[in-house]
Symmetry: C2
């Protein structure tokens, strides 16, 4: 047996306490796998006295995580505080400057400061590992960075936010409205009191920025991404999606195009037969296309104490075994600047739902607007009839550009018979 | 840049030529990822003159792979010959004795001699890597051995043979008979001229033995496995499965039970909603249950030059980067002997199809046999009526033991009205 590996942990919320618990529960297996004991020697959190259900005796307490990162006698600093700035970032930098490896679950930190952090890791001669930052317990960073190392990744798409996927799944299964299901998700603890970070797509976008960097060898580029959440997805849209053979998912998509790298997060209709369509509830999944390996799908629990602690400990175990990987797979100085493709150039099919007055000639007007912009209609559903209320006209289009559909939506909104703003959801015809 | 990594490759069939091609095509990406060039310096195969579509100039040719393994000036010996004995094994052992790392796609070799080979790797101080031996391009060995290292794996199940999955998928989609679809698969190159290795479940069983060892830290134990292929799966069974809400897959299953480790390969009915049910055609998948991470699903192409070469190169790249992992995750000497659970004790639900004379009282006789063995019927389909031909009686049972169902099948076969041997397929109610 080698010397024990000494670990300090900052942040003892659900994931931090889960990590302490996992390291204790599996100490024998881990010692056999790593050839050394993994010992938690120091911790730091806000409230010292709080009962977290884990035994912290014989572990040195620090009130300040930055002091712990710099001064505690540890080989690895585990950052589970969260947030892209402040003590989370400062403590990681302090640890790396002191020559300690860093393991973090902090997606915002890596998504916004990844290139800078990778340089700091390399100049400190240490690892910066963040498996837990993306897709919880699924070893997707390891798969992309090591398991598919022989491939040029052409594209990837994923379900990266369990809260949104739970809401969309429940809406489909029960036919209930968004607000109603969100409220229930908050009661069950699947959504935060302030849910905007999840349901507006920001969390998924942070994770996508990281996956893009690992896959394409580019600097993280959060700013040029199109990010759209699920607030506007209505129960009717989910029902119509089913009639067209689709399911609605909040997708995170990254692809190499002729015009550069395109990253986008938005609700999308995917064919019911596509692997990603079957990923339900709080599960996450990532689908990658590599030039030699073809399609690979990774699916599992995207959040929660157990799955996230599993990913944190996988990183710790790699370091304990001496398996050090560059932050984004290649030297930080060789990461290329991302050249983002304009979202206007995105080519895709679209679903459009209009609420219209049910009067003669309405559909002809609508069809004329689409024809004027050279968009051809693939399918139409128009069923309900009413002399008093607005009725839905639902269409899917053949492939067109984002710029063209946006012009069409603006023109449709101007029609006298169209009552609400048009509802649009992008279609991704994955096989 | 460090010194180039020198590679020798034995066996230049589809996978060998694919590996040479991949290493050339991705030389820049790989050099960036590994910090050194990956150079093929020596190759060995049967026919020197054959055109394999790859440039072998400036690469030293060896007629004998064992000589190459021992004498060629290489850091890694890549074995792509196949077969559990003879030159494949001898050359791997020779390479390890000479202090060279071994990368292999040889499932039979690892399944039958894994413990012995792991000891040889450790005493040579080298890596023995075999990602390509299981599930083609899917990085499942890496996921289990590293990505889920913080978990105790409780069970796993997978679709590990693309030929069988292609045949079963096509039978379901077309309603055609097994022999007919097998013939077509042979024409298309998805099945071998002698298909028994695939369709009798041996190939899947080899892969399962390896996954079991990696997951549970036990010595590979191929001999105590129940192995059953798909020859007896009839078009009718696939149709009835659909009526009960199931799909039929050739599954490889390994689980810890009270009585020891149970490994089995057999056709099974799985609920249409289970993730594994959607894995179609030549795709493979592995579903694992870990105590902290929960369910993880990995899916991808299980065979073919590109995916297999991708896995071979992932192993090469790990070694090039200095990421050396113990063969089965723990020291070879600490692998425990597998204590196999008796298959008789297996608890499960069953599908039974009987072909019977359509006469009064037949069903009562059948029901009495089941009742006598304390097996309760869950569902029955009995539809067709005929005075001259045998008609099907199709049942699913509640949970019972393998020993009990075998006794029942023997008793049912004795009934006067039962014309053929009963058809039985196990049911796995995965969620």
């Amino acid at each position: 047996m080698s010397e024990p590996l000494k670990i300090s942990i900052a942040g003892l919320g659900t994931v931090g306490a889960g990590t302490v618990q996992l390291l204790k529960a599996q100490s024998e297996i881990l010692a056999a796998r790593c050839g050394r004991n993994l010992d938690v020697v120091a911790v730091s959190a806000r409230e010292r006295e709080k009962d977290r259900g884990v035994d912290l005796s014989n572990i040195t307490w620090f009130d300040d995580p930055v002091t712990m990162a710099r001064d505690a006698d540890a080989d690895i600093f585990v950052e589970l505080i969260g947030g892209s700035e402040g003590v989370a970032k400062d403590s990681c930098v302090a640890a790396m400057q002191a020559g300690r490896h860093v393991v973090t679950a902090n997606k915002a930190l890596i998504a916004l400061h990844g290139a800078e952090m990778a340089l700091a890791a390399e100049s400190g001669g240490v690892a910066l590992a963040y498996e837990a930052a993306v897709a919880g317990g699924i070893p997707v960073i390891k798969a992309l960075r090591e398991g598919l190392a022989g491939n040029r990744i052409e594209s990837l798409h994923g379900i990266l936010n369990g809260t949104c996927n739970y809401i969309l799944t429940t809406m489909r299964e029960t036919g209930r409205a968004f607000d109603d299901v969100l409220f229930e998700a908050q009661e069950l603890g699947y959504a935060e009191a302030d849910p905007s970070f999840d349901i507006d797509g920001v969390d998924a976008a942070h994770k996508l920025a990281i996956l893009t960097s690992v896959s394409f060898g580019t600097e993280v580029d959060f700013d040029s991404m199109h990010v759209e959440g699920i607030r506007h997805v209505a129960a009717e849209d989910i029902e119509y999606a089913g009639e067209f053979g689709y399911r609605i998912k909040l997708l995170a998509i990254s692809e190499r195009t002729e015009n550069g790298i395109q990253q986008r997060v938005h609700p999308a209709m995917v064919p019911e037969s596509a692997p990603i369509a079957g990923v339900e509830g709080v599960f996450n999944a990532v689908v990658t296309e590599g030039d030699f390996v073809g399609t690979t799908v990774l699916e599992g629990r995207g959040a929660g104490a157990g799955p996230t602690a599993s990913a944190v400990v996988a990183d710790i175990s790699d370091i304990a075994c001496g398996r050090i990987v560059r932050t984004f797979g290649v030297p930080a100085s060789s990461l290329s600047k991302s050249s983002p493709a304009s979202f206007d150039d995105h080519l895709g099919a679209y679903y459009v739902r209009l609420m219209v007055d049910d009067q003669p000639g309405v559909f002809a007007e609508i069809a004329a607007v689409l024809a004027n912009h050279k968009i051809s209609i693939e399918g139409v559903i128009q069923r309900a009839r009413s002399e008093t209320q607005a009725v839905p006209v639902v269409m899917t289009t053949h492939e067109t550009t984002e710029a063209a559909i946006q012009k069409v939506l603006a023109a449709l909104a101007q029609l006298g018979a169209v009552r609400e703003s048009p509802h649009m959801i992008r279609i991704e015809n994955f096989r």
